[in-house]
């Protein structure tokens, strides 16, 4: 069970129609690879976020399969073209079944 998982996203509050905007996301998560051993020699079980998605008004912007080699606190920065006002929805899927979501509205003029 991952503790202190907290998603953060940064989306511009407004944009011009058709403009390419930069989205930044960061989630605090240990991303335990499953390859490490503790001081007693036992394998520390894998516990990572295995998928990250972003959608805009229901349409997929990005869908990422995440692997154990990704570092602690994964950070994604990507671009999207916004045709109209709407809502970005960000979703992280944890190995333990937890799903973390965050939404951000953007006003397009």
């Amino acid at each position: 069970m991952a503790e202190n998982v907290k998603p953060r996203v940064r989306v511009p509050r407004d944009a011009v129609a058709g403009e390419t905007i930069v989205l930044k996301t960061l989630i605090s998560h240990p991303m335990e690879s499953g390859q490490r051993k503790d001081s007693d020699g036992n394998v520390i079980p894998r516990s990572i976020i295995n998928r990250f998605t972003c959608s805009f008004n229901g349409e997929t912007v990005i869908d990422v399969t995440m692997e154990p080699a990704i570092s602690t606190n994964p950070y994604f920065e990507f671009e999207a073209v916004v045709p109209e006002s709407g809502t970005f929805e960000f979703t992280w899927y944890d190995d333990d079944g937890d799903i973390y979501t965050e939404t951000k509205d953007i006003a397009v003029s």
Binding site: N4, K6, R8, S71, N73, Y75
Partner: protein, 282 residues
């Protein structure tokens, strides 16, 4: 025509890695576009062997530097968020949280800049961590946090973050003077099989490379520091311990009088630089 093309291609290859790795030595640090940070200034009078003091930020690559310019990209701010939760959490027998007495963390803006500091009532020089633990045990009736461990470092990062931009200004005279002198002596004392003092690297050889690492002046205005190599916050005393260990010496433990004295002395060497914790280093 062919030779000309080849030459220009080589030119690009040479220029690129340099451009990526080496930071502009005159770069200025402004956090979130609103907090100007003093990263170089005239050395205080009690630092006899330096003319100008530089924040460790000026020695890092431009990529590492840029991480600290925006709170969203600064991984240290994740721990500040955790500390804000702890700040508002009621703990201990007195039924109080940090917020019950201090209100918002911003109320303590500027505090980080004057620590370590003489505490008249206790008759000792106190670091931020000692003061936090004094609050926890005496006022909250809660358990102490271990020195330089997660909870404490998170709280120190929060307290540093609200003081960013304030010039470091620790008092070195009056009752704190004897501790300061002890710290100064430790700074110039060679230790370990390699017989190195702090000054051998950070005063005599700053700006040179020690293997692949670019030596800074060892200023501690940016602590606690998020290090990319271990992906967590690092405390001043742990950093001291790492340095002394690297001289192949038996080290002092974190939280001991020697390291408190050294923290006071090294902090005073940075009087005039801005508080910038949680900083990002490699």
């Amino acid at each position: 025509m062919k030779t000309k093309l080849a030459v220009s291609v080589i030119g690009v290859c040479l220029a690129l890695p340099l451009g990526l790795a080496v930071a502009d030595p005159n770069a200025d640090l402004v956090i979130n576009g609103e907090i100007p940070i003093t990263v170089r200034t005239a050395a205080p009078d009690h630092v006899e062997n330096l003319r100008t003091i530089y924040s460790g930020w000026t020695y890092r690559s431009s990529e590492t530097q840029s991480l600290q310019m925006d709170d969203f990209e600064n991984p240290g701010m994740i721990f500040v968020d955790e500390a804000i939760d702890a700040w508002n959490t009621v703990e201990g027998s007195a039924g109080e949280s940090c917020a019950s007495c201090h209100g918002a963390p911003e109320e303590l803006a500027g505090v980080r800049a004057v620590y370590p500091r003489w505490n008249e009532e206790a008759g000792e020089v106190r670091t931020m961590a000692m003061q936090v633990n004094d609050c926890r045990t005496r006022r909250m009736g809660a358990e102490e946090w271990a020195y330089d461990k997660n909870d404490m470092l998170n709280m120190e990062a929060l307290l540093a973050s609200v003081s960013r931009g304030y010039p470091v200004n620790v008092a070195i005279d009056g009752p704190a003077q004897s501790m300061w002198e002890l710290g100064r002596e430790l700074y110039y004392t060679r230790t370990g099989q390699l017989e190195l003092s702090c000054a051998n690297c950070h005063e005599d050889n700053y700006d040179n490379n020690i293997r692949a690492d670019h030596l800074s002046q060892g200023m501690i205005n940016g602590f606690p520091t998020y290090r990319l190599k271990n992906a967590k916050l690092n405390g001043v005393h742990s950093r001291f311990r790492g340095c002394v260990r690297d001289t192949r010496a038996e080290t002092y433990r974190v939280g001991t009088e020697e390291f408190i004295a050294l923290e006071l002395y090294v902090m005073s060497r940075g009087n005039g630089l801005s508080v910038e914790g949680p900083s990002v280093r490699n």
